[in-house]
Amino acid sequence: MSVVVVGYVPHPRGRAALEHAVLEAHRRDALLVVVNSSRGDALVDEEFVRGDQLRALHDELAASGLRTEVRQPVRGRDVAEELSAVCTETGAELLVIGLKRRSAVGKLLMGSAAQRILLDVECPVLAVKGPPREG
């Protein structure tokens, strides 16, 4: 059974990643593992899906007709480490992530999660850009 992993965040880029991941999973007839992690060290993490958003995500996945699984690890590790761990564990065939435009200075200051994912993860990575100017 092949597996497609997608890193999901409740932003346009996360939605774009999810759409492409659903397409890819259909094409490969694969299990879709949706990962939405939080490092859990800030009091508020707006990228961590819960409540209504989580219900909407489950509904959407159910409507896609795929076999899916949602994982929300909170283990104090950053998103690159979590995705890489999930990919290794499931033996994923493809990882889909969303990309955000960053200025050079922003990247210098904040680092780039995407870059770390691209370098760390063993399997092929499909990087999807969100709609322009929305992040």
């Binding site: 939080s38 859990g40 800030a42 009091l43 508020v44 707006e46």
Partner: protein, 520 residues
């Protein structure tokens, strides 16, 4: 006295530099009010060493801004996160969070902010009116009376704050003991200095306060860094409708009426009046069905009460030199740092300073209203700061500040030692506020006691010589014995489930509250 003094105060407070410090104060205050676990007391303690180079007026204006700002900031987290930023906002969370969940978050924020503004303004006005009158009374207070007042403040703070009177008293004694370290002023004898020469000056208040609040809290947070995060509710809907206003103004006024006197009394700050205000609104409301589901009265009343009591706390501080909350105690330490001794003579000797401080409270209140409502989104963003960074910053600042006071490495050792103590106190549910109040008020009370005894030639009856001290000491006795008697009258100890429930509530407060601000 009166209007002309207050106008003079405004003239001092409206200089560009002082306005800037007021702005800095309210911004900082709101920020620390929003962040759970960090409160105005910790912030003022951290900033104390840095402000010794400033003019006293500017520094005190900034501290007052922090104090008021903390009250505003706490309501934001209560409403949007159901996590009270400080314990005086617990009641706000009850109805405010329900309102936010029902899509009326904006109205809740608006009634909290405007209510705080209304209450703060009225209460500051009352402060300006009451303070000169009270000074007239206070000027006749003898040293024995003063000692009685200090005892009342000790007992009230220790038995009202925290989960049990015993823990409060233990914490108070700890503070009193730390206040004893150093050279005795009257006899020149060294006390508890362990032969360490640096200790003969006593332990610096800044070091103790920073250690207990900042280091203790940082270690505590580090020890139980809760994984996972809470959900922010969007603030939606219109700010305030005509109907909201109609339902809010009476609770605002009632909250003010409850909050101010409780602040003035040495009964431990803002928690009790917010509880009372909530209960009163619940009883008086025309919409009882909405309580528990998001009634605007339940936000308006307690928020007004906590701000009014914040102003009330300044009355005993400025007229008698008696702090009744942790933040007030640290502000008192700041006064002492500038060589100003708060007490009945403060208003005559340092009149311009006090009036500028009072005027700045009005200005700070107006600034807070402008800052808070439109910028709620920004304040909530603060909560996304990963806590390890936040507390690492606090620890750095704490160490720098403590070292800067005397440039003595021993202070850092004391900082760490007392920091561990602060951690242990939090861990075992000892409130920190009584310790700080004991530390700062203790030496003042001791001086007064010994002066009284010196005058009377060691005759203890001088302590109950005047009616004033008799009444005050009786009140202190009641505050001490009352809770115990009540428990006996009820005829049983708390059942294990009740204890568990109380502990759970404590944890809620701990998790959220600024234990330093009000020592919940």
């Amino acid at each position: 006295m009166g209007i002309s003094d207050l106008l003079g105060g405004f003239a001092d407070a409206i200089t560009p530099v002082n306005l800037l410090f007021a702005l800095l104060g309210v911004v900082l205050g709101t920020a620390v009010g929003v962040l759970p676990g960090i409160g105005p007391a910790m912030t003022v303690a951290l900033l104390l060493p840095a402000t010794y180079v400033l003019e006293p007026t500017s520094a005190l204006i900034m501290f007052a801004g922090i104090y008021y700002g903390g009250m505003y900031g706490g309501s934001t987290t209560s409403i949007l996160l159901n996590t009270p930023g400080e314990s005086a906002s617990i009641m706000t969370a009850l109805e405010g969070n329900k309102m936010a969940k029902a899509g009326r978050g904006s109205a809740a924020l608006a009634t909290a902010a405007i209510g705080s503004f209304v209450a703060g303004t009225i209460a500051t006005l009352l402060l300006a009116l009451v303070a000169p009158a009270l000074v007239q009374v206070a000027i006749n207070v003898t040293t024995a009376d003063y000692f009685a007042l200090a005892v009342l403040a000790f007992v009230a703070v220790a038995s009202v704050l925290g989960s049990s009177p015993l823990r409060g008293l233990a914490s108070l004694c700890l503070g009193l003991y730390l206040g004893l370290v150093g050279t005795d002023v009257l006899t020149g004898q060294e006390r508890f200095t362990l032969g360490v020469p640096q200790l003969s000056d006593g332990i610096d208040v800044v070091v103790v306060a920073v250690a207990l609040f900042a280091v203790g809290e940082s270690l505590y947070v580090a020890s139980r860094l809760r994984k996972g995060s809470v959900q922010v509710i969007d603030h939606k809907g219109s700010w305030m409708t005509r109907q909201d206003l109609r339902r809010s103004w009476k609770p605002w006024l009632r909250g003010t009426a409850l909050g101010f006197p409780f602040g003035v009394m040495p009964a431990g700050g803002a928690e009790i009046p917010t509880f009372l205000s909530y209960a009163a609104e619940k009883k008086l409301t025309k919409h009882p069905e909405e309580f528990g589901k998001g009634a605007i009265e339940g936000v308006a009343g307690p928020e007004a009460a906590n701000n009014a009591s914040a102003a009330g706390v300044l009355v005993p501080l400025l007229t008698l030199g008696i702090p009744t909350s942790a933040t007030a105690a640290i502000i008192l330490a700041a006064f002492q740092g500038y060589g100003i001794q708060p007490g009945p003579t403060l208003l005559t000797t340092e009149g311009p300073l006090v009036w500028a401080l009072i005027a700045s409270l009005f200005i700070g209140n107006a600034m807070l209203l402008v800052l808070n409502l439109p910028l709620v989104g920004l304040w909530v963003k603060l909560l996304r700061i990963p806590r390890p960074y936040l507390y690492a910053g606090i620890l750095t600042f704490a160490s720098l500040g403590s070292f800067a006071v005397n440039a003595d490495p021993l202070d850092l050792v004391i900082l760490m030692g007392l920091g561990l103590l602060g951690f242990a106190m939090r861990r075992f549910g000892w409130p920190v506020a009584p310790a700080v109040i004991g530390l700062i008020l203790g030496p003042i009370a001791e001086t007064n006691l010994r002066r009284a005894l010196a005058i009377s030639d060691g005759d203890l009856s001088v302590l109950v010589d005047s009616w004033f001290s008799r009444v005050v000491l009786l009140l202190a006795l009641l505050a001490l014995v009352g809770p115990v008697v009540l428990r006996v009258v009820r005829g049983r100890r708390a059942t294990p489930t009740e204890v568990a429930q109380a502990q759970e509530e404590d944890r809620e407060v701990q998790k959220a509250g600024d234990r330093e601000g009000w020592g919940a």
